[in-house]
């Protein structure tokens, strides 16, 4: 309020004590800093244990691979020292299955996704390596193989199925005067299909190896709940292994 000369004679003032608010703000800031520090520490811990876990997985994977390679070496060494044809045959049949499992282990960690396994990739490598190695021009291989990702726990039984089917077709083709082998691995109406089709004269196989193959196939199919269907049409024999693919198995 001013007098006639315009000088101030009274004034109103309002004061508010907000020490509390200011100190609350400081407390909040301190609490936030502390929380952030805790989060950072926790993140470091988690990253450290993740790194330790990754290292452990790789270490175990490496040891499993080495042990499988050692097992295969022992069997191969015994094969070289064995002269009896029947015994050699039996040892090579064991080696063949060890190698199939080794290939699964080798391929498990090649992709960034450690929980899935590409059975199509496995089938392609197995069939091409096998047919290339036997160096027989009269055995012709064709393939209709697409990538089919399956959960890692199913990798071994499914790979053994592929191994039995392809191995059986090649053995019959070898015993006979060659033939054609067609390998199919793909999805089909919500199912997953492994088909091995071959044309060769049906030959009487060695009973022990035929029985081992049959049991391996049956056990592996039961393991994953797959059905096996065999069709023979003259020289043509078709084996279909079908498996219902669960939705949780198929992220794509």
């Amino acid at each position: 309020m001013r007098d006639d000369d315009g000088d101030i004679i009274y004034f109103f003032a309002s004061q508010l004590d907000f020490t509390n608010i200011k100190s609350k703000e400081a407390e909040l800031a301190a609490a936030r800093h502390q929380a952030e520090a805790e989060v950072a520490e926790r993140t470091d811990d988690l990253q450290e244990s993740l790194a330790a876990r990754t290292l452990l997985v790789h270490e175990v994977d490496h040891r499993v691979k080495n042990n499988l390679a050692t097992m295969a070496s022992i069997v191969k060494m015994q094969v070289r020292l064995t002269e009896d044809e029947g015994q050699r045959h039996a040892l090579l049949s064991v080696l063949n299955r060890i190698e199939a499992i080794s290939t699964v282990q080798r391929k498990l960690f090649t992709t960034n996704d450690v929980e899935r396994f590409d059975i199509g990739d496995f089938a392609r490598e197995l069939a091409t390596d096998l047919v290339e190695a036997i160096k027989r021009d009269d055995i012709r291989l064709t393939m209709d193989v697409s990538p089919v990702l399956v959960p890692a726990v199913k990798a071994t039984p499914l790979s053994l199925i592929v191994n039995e089917l392809v191995g059986d077709a090649v053995r019959r083709g070898l015993a006979d005067g060659g033939g054609e082998i067609h390998v199919v691995v793909r999805r089909l109406n919500g199912h997953f299909l492994i088909r091995v089709e071959d044309t060769s004269e049906p030959v009487e196989p060695d009973p022990a190896s035929a029985e081992l193959g049959r049991r391996m196939l049956e056990a592996s199919a039961r393991q994953v709940g797959a059905t096996i269907e065999k069709t023979m049409e003259g020289r043509r024999s078709i084996v279909d292994v079908t498996l219902l693919v669960e939705n949780k198995d198929t992220p794509q």
Binding site: H58, H62, K65, N66, L68, A69, T70, A72, S73, I74, K76, M77, R80, L95, E99, S102, T103, Q105, R106, T110, T111, N112, D118, R124, E125, T128, D129, L130, E132, A133
Partner: protein
């Protein structure tokens, strides 16, 4: 071919030696650590080598590989962990991943023999991983 095997697992090294000899080649040297390599190389005549990454003196296989590559000796890595290889594969023709199969090794050996004898037209077998495949793996699947 005259072949050197650089591998610290003796059982695997002996088995590989048998496989290489069965394919008609001569193993002229076996090394389980990087220190043993120069002597074998110095003896001369080496035409090819198999090199594991992890040796008795640590992960020195890559250095061994660079040395071989510097001397113009073709080689491949044989390892359980090819992810450890540098992007250029240290000049290797390729890598075979352990545990390999008998067929896979036999096919790779036939391919290598052809390449070393100057036949570049062949397609590499499925068992032999090339540097570009790994690049594709990392960016793709």
């Amino acid at each position: 071919m005259k072949v050197m095997i650089v591998e610290d697992e003796m059982l695997l090294a002996m088995e590989l030696e048998s496989e290489v000899e069965a394919a008609g080649h001569a193993v002229v040297g076996m090394a389980s650590s990087s220190a043993q390599v120069p002597d074998i190389v110095r003896d001369g005549g080496l035409e090819f080598a198999f090199v594991d990454i992890h040796l008795q003196d640590g992960p020195t296989g890559i250095e061994v590989g660079r040395m071989l590559s510097g001397k113009g000796i073709p080689y491949i890595f044989v390892s359980g962990n090819i992810k450890k290889l540098p992007p250029d594969f240290a000049g290797a023709l390729g890598a075979i991943e352990k545990p390999y199969t008998m067929n896979g090794m036999a096919n790779a050996l036939a391919y290598i023999d052809a390449v070393v004898s100057g036949d570049e037209g062949r397609l590499p077998p499925a068992s032999l991983v090339l540097a570009q495949d790994v690049g594709y793996r990392a960016s793709g699947r």
